[in-house]
Amino acid sequence: MSRDASRAKSGDQMQNPLIKHSIAIVRICLGAVFLYAGMLKIVDTTAFAGSIAAYRLFPYFFNYLVAAVLPWLEVICGVVLVTGWRTRPAAFMILLLNLFFTAALLSALIRGLEIDCGCFKPGAADPPLMAIGRDLVFMAMAGLVIWQDWRRSAA
């Protein structure tokens, strides 16, 4: 074993294996959640378009375009996170998406719209505050995955 390799190895070992594996579990869970959320929406694009339309953020056609593309983006991010291949862009994407979801939910809350969030199953009446809380947890999870990825590439 060359000196460089052994140094890199010891750098990797500096992190407690418990933490390392916990973060891997977080990454896989986050990926699975997005995979699941995306697939539920792909099954019924029209219903998801309805959920988006209820936010009254986009013009008519745009609701359908977002409903067609967003679930696939979620599925791609989910697959990438679960497999662990190219973790960083997927985790950033999920961070970005959740920022956007949170903003949309907040705006619906402020405007007093009584809508279902369209997060998972269409027609599920999740209270918006719970959905926002859930998005914040997802963002924290994505942040953890990004931090780990950055740490490892810096080591």
């Binding site: 694009t45 219903a47 309805g50 056609f61 593309v69 862009p89 950033f92």
Partner: protein
Amino acid sequence: MTTRQSMMRLAIEMAIMVALAAVIGVSWNYRLLVNAWTGKGAEAPKAAAGISAPIPLPLGLMQVKELYDRKEATFIDSRDRVAYGSGHIKGAISLPLMDTATAIPEFGNRVPKNATLVVYCSGYACEDSIEVGRQLLAIGYTTVYYFDGGFPAWRDAGYPIARRP
């Protein structure tokens, strides 16, 4: 890799993911998107006509369910008979847009004019319920709502449905 390079790489990888999602998503839903796109063209003149004629008021799922539970409203399914047959809100009357010429006067004879009506079709992509609602307003009904989530939202919420009349 420098920070700048890795940032660039991150941006490119994210862009590829979005592009891939766009390609799959658009081709997967090609027909729906085309319908939505062409439907937009047809929507504009209807909306303009609505300024003079009275139009039905939209109701959300929760309000519609409340009316349903209190049995205060007559539900009207404005989709075609096949769609009605394969599943409709339990107790709804079939009144397809294409049959309104004969069905609306008949309905008018059966149901008192002070009844509360809720018209629905197949959800947000569908304008039939608004059109049927407008025609009902035109023959003298005063309380006409349309349920903008339509049958899909009702079904997905797990509320009572029926097949065949």
